[in-house]
């Protein structure tokens, strides 16, 4: 008796609920092996690059006597052209790229979901206008436009870069959201909610939105990969002068210092490439689990 009340109290507290939700989500994640592996890779990279730098010196020491060393115990990924430890640079260099990626994805997802659901729900001229705009933005070659903007304006703030990317990458998700809303709008439970006189806000937020959550979450991760494609591309070309060390700058330096064409520096070039590729692969793999969580029909018999 006492145990059940205790348990209930534990479940009712906010922390308990979050923990319980977390545990059940993890359990669902683990059902799909590829998806779970992706989730582990992504969370490891996020944790290491966001928390790691707190414990590490922000300036990686230069050592001219250890240039392009192959991996040893003290330098697990070798050293670069100035004898700086590559592993330290990798840990320090993830945060700026990931921050811009997540920020830009948040911006583009917000625009896409707002315009898509408004257009789908309201219909008429609003819908036509938004679809038009989406079709137009979709034909803009994004990377060249960003490069030209970077050439004319000075893009040295992360927020500006993220905003510019976010403003360009929403159309695909917007079209998908719109289609989703159009089909959900006609479902029986939405019609009955309408018949009950439950008002537009209730229908949008309580009936339609929860059914799109999974879809939006998956597309958010795809938006992160797309935004990272753009940021890394721009930093690689040296067009976004981000001052800190980051993965894109590392590849750019490998290029300008000629490390790409030297046989000794494989580890220096491969490390940032591997970090970016692993993170992208992890996100895409994680989607397999995400889609199972949100669409129980996809789950295989447990």
């Amino acid at each position: 008796m006492a145990a059940t009340t205790g348990e209930r109290r534990y479940r009712d507290s906010a922390v308990g609920r979050i923990l319980a939700w977390f545990a059940s989500t993890l359990k669902l994640m683990a059902r799909n092996r590829v998806g779970f592996a992706g989730f582990l890779v992504v969370s490891t990279i996020v944790l290491v690059t966001f928390i790691g730098p707190v414990f590490l010196p922000s300036e990686v020491p230069v050592n001219v006597e250890e240039i392009y060393e192959t991996p040893t115990l003290s330098h697990p990924l070798g050293t670069d052209s100035e004898g700086k430890d590559v592993l330290l640079q990798i840990i320090n260099g993830g945060r700026p790229i990931l921050t811009i990626g997540f920020l830009a994805a948040a911006i583009s997802t917000t625009i896409a979901v707002t315009l898509g659901s408004l257009g789908g729900f309201v219909g008429g001229r609003v819908d036509t206008g938004f679809t038009w705009l989406a079709d137009m933005v979709l034909t803009i070659p994004q990377l060249p436009l960003l490069a030209v903007l970077a050439g004319v304006l000075r893009l040295n703030s992360k927020i500006t870069v993220a905003a510019l990317i976010g403003v360009l990458f929403w159309p695909t998700l917007m079209r998908a959201t719109r289609a989703q809303v159009l089909s959900l709008k006609e479902r029986d439970y939405v019609e009955s909610a309408r018949a009950l006189g439950l008002g537009t806000p209730h229908i949008v937020f309580r009936e339609i939105a929860p059914n799109m959550a999974g879809y939006i979450a998956i597309n958010f991760t795809l938006a992160v990969t797309a935004s990272m494609y753009a940021v890394v591309g721009l930093t690689l070309l040296g067009l976004v002068p981000l001052s800190e060390d980051n993965w894109g700058v590392m590849i750019n330096l490998a290029w300008t210092r000629g490390a790409i064409f030297s046989k000794d520096s494989v580890f220096y070039i491969m490390s940032p490439i591997a970090a970016i590729a692993l993170f992208q692969l992890g996100l895409v793999a994680m989607n397999r689990s995400l889609s199972e969580i949100f669409d129980p029909r996809l789950r295989r018999g447990a």
Binding site: I140, P144, A147, V148, V152, V266, Q280, L281
Partner: protein
Amino acid sequence: MKALITIFVMASLTFFLVRLMPGSPVEAYIANLVTQYNVSHENAKAQAASLFSLDLNAPVYQQYLEYLGNLMRGDLGESLVTRGVPVSEIVLAYLPWTLFSIGTALIISFSLGIMLGMLMAYKRETKLDHILTNLGSIVSSIPDYLMGILILVWVGVQWELIDVTNMRGSLSPGIQPGLNLTFIGDAFYHASLPILTYVLGTIGLWMLTMRGSTESTLGEDYVTVAKARGLKERRIATAYVGRNAALPPFTQLSISIALVFGGSLLIEWIFVYEGLGYLLYNAIQQRDYPVMQGVFLIITTMVIVANLLADLLYSRLDPRIRVAGRD
């Protein structure tokens, strides 16, 4: 119509960026002439005006109209770096190489991707299917330019299989364009690495979409009927399944065109392939604004034209669209 409006919006955007932004290229250019070369402000302004083909004394709206008028006539101004050379001339010299490499790559990757996707659907749940599905999702999630760098680093530098420095540029020195084997062979030789990168970057998408659409087409009634009628397996696969299943990947094609053209900026930079992307990169580095503006507008126009072509082809492939388009 939509296409024309997009080009118009992009043209206006570049005009206002170059002309009106605080510390805009035009102002910067004038200021530079005045301080560095002791040119009087009036003369500097006149020089800038002829370079950007703008009348700087006229009100902004008039400049804007004139700029649009010049664009219609194909006048994109003159390069700041190589003086006196019209931007349109420079752009036209680089354009064919980008069109050639991207066009060839898309044809190869689309047809190969479709065939592999069908193969995967026919052999679904076999080992071959699993391997190809995983390969497809791996190549489609790694950025294409990283694959380009990987090719350069491993094939070119570490294993020394090919001489990448020799493959730079769009043609070997001394080779004249013409309809002969040496020229065509040389063009393919220089374009081969960019083409390989574009193919790797796009093929995964076609494979996976085609696999999915073939799988659902195989369950359609008309396929069952065709089988019941005793048609040859090969004919069913091409005329019944393939033709219908290829439609979804084809719609993806028009979406990817903008991405591939955009990606050429990095791919051409990596392999030093002298196309529009390479030109754009150099123009940005040298702050050659008229060239930047011109290349950007041409890339946008190319993407839009390619999209229109894809739409036209789609209506040839799918009779339902053709009928709908008529009324």
